[in-house]
């Protein structure tokens, strides 16, 4: 009779993160890295070119790059690229039964794999924010911007992973949320702004970009959440989403599928 120890939740998380580590150094991983970094590099190259030509560089260009490009587009795209590579990938590849047949802590599997993609994406978000220094951002601004990106990515990735586990077309629902609901923050009155990711990013990173002018017809007054509280909300929201991912996987009976279960 076996007297094998049953892996703890932490061991399960480590096993999955270590096991899938090579995945982040493959195509999807580099695409994920390129999403925040390439626009910043292009901006840096463009401003360098303009400087050489003696053109005027707007002093708040970094704000447009951060709010109008990184926060608005690149961060959601990163989450939409990374989330399907999480435990959703094992479900679609039908490799999940081999993991579920192990004595590991099943509810930890989504978090273990998600953590890998979170860590990798967060590194490149920080690099991208560091690049904003070259566009005029200050060291203090960099600190807040990087913090906003890293915690928002945590929450958004967890949310997208949950959608991927709950819905068959989770990526689609995620895209709808991020690209249709979230931008509506501009016209949401008062506390309704608090149910968008943009609100927390802006609460941590500071002012909105210049593309939001008071002259917009339906624009509402921006409310803010204190930085510490905004970070806490993003962290807790992410944790809740990861916990729900774990619960969903634990509670769902996933057997062999297709030809494997025909016999």
């Amino acid at each position: 009779m076996s007297t094998r120890a049953i892996p703890s939740p932490i061991q399960t998380m480590q096993a999955v993160a270590r096991g899938y580590l090579p995945r982040i150094f493959q195509v999807r991983g580099w695409v994920l890295a390129a999403i925040p970094v390439v626009p910043v590099l292009l901006s840096l190259a463009l401003t360098a070119l303009l400087r050489v030509q003696g053109e005027h560089i707007p002093p708040a260009l970094y704000l447009t790059a951060f709010h109008g490009v990184l926060a608005k587009f690149m961060l959601p795209i990163m989450a939409l690229v990374a989330a399907p590579a999480g435990i959703r990938e094992d479900i679609e590849q039908r490799t999940i039964p081999l993991m579920l047949a192990r004595p590991s802590t099943i509810w930890m599997l989504p978090f273990g794999k998600g953590l890998l993609w979170y860590g990798w994406g967060a590194i490149w978000l920080v690099v991208a924010c560091a690049g904003l220094l070259g566009l005029g951002s200050s060291p203090e601004g960099f600190l807040y911007q990087a913090t906003a990106m890293v915690f928002a990515y945590w929450a958004i990735l967890a949310f997208m992973s949950l959608l991927g586990l709950v819905f068959k077309r989770g990526t689609l629902w995620g895209a709808l949320y991020l690209f249709i609901w979230d931008p509506l923050v501009r016209i949401f009155p008062g506390n309704l702004q608090r149910i968008t990711f943009v609100h927390y990013i802006e609460s941590i990173a500071g002012t909105r970009s210049s593309d939001v002018a008071a002259s917009q017809l339906l624009a509402q007054e921006q409310i803010t959440t204190p930085v510490g509280l905004a970070i806490l909300i993003l962290v807790v929201f992410g944790l809740v989403c990861w916990a729900l991912c774990g619960w969903k996987l634990q509670a769902t009976a996933l057997g062999l599928a297709g030809s494997e279960s025909e016999g």
Partner: protein
């Protein structure tokens, strides 16, 4: 050790496995799950391996329900059918993860990986990516992952698919070795010959229900009751027909172009007689073809027989 008490499995409206009861004792041994495609073998395997909970009844492995139960799963090794592996990983990396998910770590894990790869003959090729491996190699890796944590119960779903004859024999030897070391092995197949080479005990499944249970000779006897059809081509078909009607095993006879179609019971008794008659020059035989030796035909017959 393994006890099913009217355990059934439904996939929505579809019944994958009718209420099924059987018991396998503690200790080593190989049990064959035999049945054609769609018989319910994989449904049964999913219940035993704890992948799915029963829709009705009870499944007990080592005294507990296996579904989402680490205490049971730590003693089970599963080799599912199908060629599915995570993209972008190599054999060793994947085995390491599977070992860690089974509670192994450090030098114990290294030793387990080495031992498992050696057992399946993949010790020098496990570093390859799955996409660079042949189907047979991937099957061996799948086998290795099930052996890592030295499970007491090994469940193999159609393990010989895609294996070359040598690998097949090696796997059979390995299974016999594990069985004699006290491991209980459940192996599914739709090929009787394959299972018969391995096991002393067979569970016969058909259309989602357990049709019969017993030793290989018992099952063979049951199968022998199914009349098989033989097409005997001869220059003198009438002579063949005259000889055949004198044999007690003949159930039906009809004539085809240049051949007699014989339906016979107990082919293991009949065929040596036919062989002797040919050797004695009594039958001018040109060709002998079995027409319905496939397992589906036998199962169809048994189902009618049981009804």
């Amino acid at each position: 050790m393994i006890r099913l008490e009217r355990a059934s499995l439904r996939y929505g409206d579809i019944l994958g496995l009718s209420p099924t009861s059987f018991e396998l004792p503690e200790g080593g041994g190989i049990t064959g799950l035999l049945g054609p495609n769609g018989a319910g073998k994989s449904s049964l395997i999913q219940l035993l391996a704890g992948l799915l909970p029963p829709s009705g009844g009870e499944v007990n492995i080592f005294g507990e329900a296996p579904f989402r139960n680490p205490n049971v799963l730590v003693r089970i090794g599963l080799v599912p059918e199908g060629d599915r592996f995570p993209v972008g990983l190599n054999g060793t990396r994947w085995l390491r993860m599977m070992g860690e998910l089974s509670g192994l770590s450090g030098s114990e894990l290294d030793a387990a990986i080495q031992r498992s790869l050696l057992a399946v003959g993949m010790e020098t090729r496990a570093q390859l990516g799955f996409s660079s491996m042949s189907k047979g190699m991937r099957q061996r890796i799948r086998m290795a992952q099930a052996l890592l944590h030295e499970p007491d119960l090994l469940i193999l779903d159609e393990p010989f698919n895609g294996m070359d004859p040598e690998a097949r024999l090696n796997l059979m030897d390995l299974m016999r070795e594990l069985s004699s070391a006290g491991k209980r092995i459940i192996v599914s197949s739709h090929i009787l010959g394959e299972v018969a080479q391995l096991t002393e005990r067979i569970l016969l499944l058909f259309r989602g229900r357990l049709l019969a249970e017993g030793s290989v000779p018992e099952i063979r006897e049951l199968l022998d009751r199914h009349p098989i059809e033989l097409r005997v081509a001869s220059e003198d078909v009438r002579q063949v027909a005259r000889w055949a009607v004198e044999q007690g095993e003949l159930v039906a006879l009809r004539m085809d172009e240049g051949a007699a179609i014989l339906a016979v019971r107990n082919p293991r008794d009949f065929l040596p007689k036919l062989q002797d008659a040919i050797a004695a020059g009594q039958l001018p035989l040109r060709a002998l073809d079995p027409l319905d030796l496939n397992l589906d035909a036998v199962f169809q017959y048994l189902t009618k027989d049981n009804a």
